[in-house]
């Protein structure tokens, strides 16, 4: 049914391998340009094949350098690779410096790699609002693997799990004692732990602590996160890192978990789309509708509490 006559030009360009068409459609998606939606609809049926792998961890642990180091072995396997690298936007100017590209060395003329930098544009959680959609565009473009680099993450930046089927949490030696790794958040989403900069002293201790953390899980079954050490300075550990990622991907297939994971991620994404739309409509209604505006005055005057106001706003929202 998705015959190419019916496809919008932008989508047709992506399917045909036009790099500029892909780049422009990514911009339109990032800019929330409604004209991108017909292309996204037309391309959706062509997605679902690429494996999306997330790389997260605090700033400076070497996420971009690890991705760069993986490009060569992945290309040698004949895999086409898309890279999405997210960096923060300024809360003041809205601007950003996207500097991940500087670490990525490219083979001239190799069309099997496409690197795109994204600013977070106010979205928290480690990725940008449009990151998932951009991964799908890479998928439709024919990339076999999409490597997603989050912003330098803190303990609560776990949204990469809504984007990737395998999340690699990257750490370095001396980030803290083993109690840090017991804390909730970032450490819980790892399918693979990678202690990078293993050429530095302390990497073995960090890896041992993580290994013990993984062993503390009471579960007798289920995926047990792999712990690997790597160094982009001397090239150690890169093959084991990729093998650990592949092992997790194979585990998802072997235990029929891939579809369930995708279903949960899509559910969150679709609910997110609706929430955004409803939220925008409610904000507009509050600004426009004098009756609803009056509701706010009541709350400001302490004659109505915010919970009751929220109930009424939800009940009386414009439809």
């Amino acid at each position: 049914m998705s015959t190419s006559e019916r496809m919008p030009d932008a989508a047709r360009g992506v399917v045909a391998g036009d790099r500029r068409a892909l780049a422009r459609l990514i911009s339109a998606v990032e800019d929330r340009d409604p004209s991108a939606v017909p292309s996204l609809r037309a391309l959706y049926a062509r997605t679902g094949r690429a494996r999306v792998i997330g790389f997260t961890g605090p700033l400076g642990v070497g996420k971009s350098s690890l991705i760069n180091a993986l490009l060569k072995p992945l290309r040698e396997r004949g895999l086409k690779v898309g890279v999405v690298a997210v960096d923060p936007s300024s809360p003041f100017s809205g601007g950003s410096v996207l500097g991940d590209r500087i670490r990525i060395e490219r083979t001239p003329g190799d069309e099997g790699v496409f690197v795109r930098s994204m600013a977070s544009r106010g979205h928290t959680g480690g990725v940008a609002a449009a990151t998932r959609e951009v991964c799908r565009l890479f998928d439709a473009f024919g990339m076999d693997v999409v490597l997603v680099e989050t912003v330098g993450s803190g303990q609560v930046d776990v949204e990469i799990r809504d984007v990737a089927s395998t999340s690699v949490v990257i750490l370095v030696p001396h980030l803290g004692d083993e109690v840090q790794s017991l804390k909730a958040g970032l450490f819980e989403i790892a399918d693979v732990f990678c202690v990078n900069k293993s050429d530095l002293p302390g990497a073995d201790v960090a890896a041992k602590d993580l290994g013990e953390l993984v062993g503390l899980s009471g579960a007798a079954e289920g995926w047990r996160p792999a712990v690997v050490t790597a160094s982009t300075a001397n090239g150690d550990g890169l093959e084991p890192l990729w093998s650990a990622i592949e092992a997790h991907e194979a585990y998802l297939d072997a235990h029929h978990l891939r579809a369930a994971g995708e279903r949960a991620r899509l559910g969150r994404e679709i609910v997110g789309m609706v929430s955004e739309r409803v939220g925008r409509e409610l904000r507009e209604a509050l600004d426009r509708d004098p009756d609803l505006g009056h509701l706010l005055d009541e709350v400001v005057a302490r004659r109505l509490d915010p919970h009751s106001a929220a109930d009424r706003l939800y009940r009386e929202r414009p439809r």
Partner: protein, 139 residues
């Protein structure tokens, strides 16, 4: 081009230094100033080949390219970037430049299509305003 249809979207600009030139302080100052004006600056950094710069410009869908060169090789490198942009059918992306560039070279560069050339002592305000104007207008 893209910005004509989406004026509220941030301007995306690529800042790169072609060739063998280790002096990136100027490029970093410009990157920072453009960031503070609300642009998304893709900082490609040092020792880029013209081919990589053009590929980056395509992949990042930039509205503008800023080239910096302090090594004296600008007359070899900048025209090469412009030629490759045309060859790859992205000749519509405006290019501006900065560095140690003698007046007569700046004139020649403007003649072949570099939209603006900034030397030492240029005001950041002027550079930012020019960059905004170029990005909104396209080539």
């Amino acid at each position: 081009m893209a910005k004509a249809t989406r004026p509220s979207a941030p301007i995306r600009v690529l800042i790169a230094k072609p060739g063998l030139d280790g002096h990136d302080r100027g490029a970093k100052i410009i990157a920072r100033a453009l960031r503070d004006s609300g642009m998304e600056v893709i900082y490609a950094g040092l020792r880029q080949t013209p081919e990589t710069i053009v590929e980056s410009a395509i992949e990042e869908d930039v509205d503008l390219i800023g080239l910096s060169c302090l090594s004296g090789a600008h007359m070899a490198l900048f025209p090469r970037v412009l030629r490759l942009l045309k060859q790859r059918k992205v000749g519509d992306v405006p290019v501006f430049a900065g560095g140690i560039i003698p007046d007569e070279d700046a004139k020649a560069l403007r003649k072949i299509g570099i939209k603006a050339v900034f030397g030492p002592g240029s005001s950041l305000k002027e550079i930012v305003t020019t960059a905004q104007r170029l990005a909104r207008a396209g080539a």
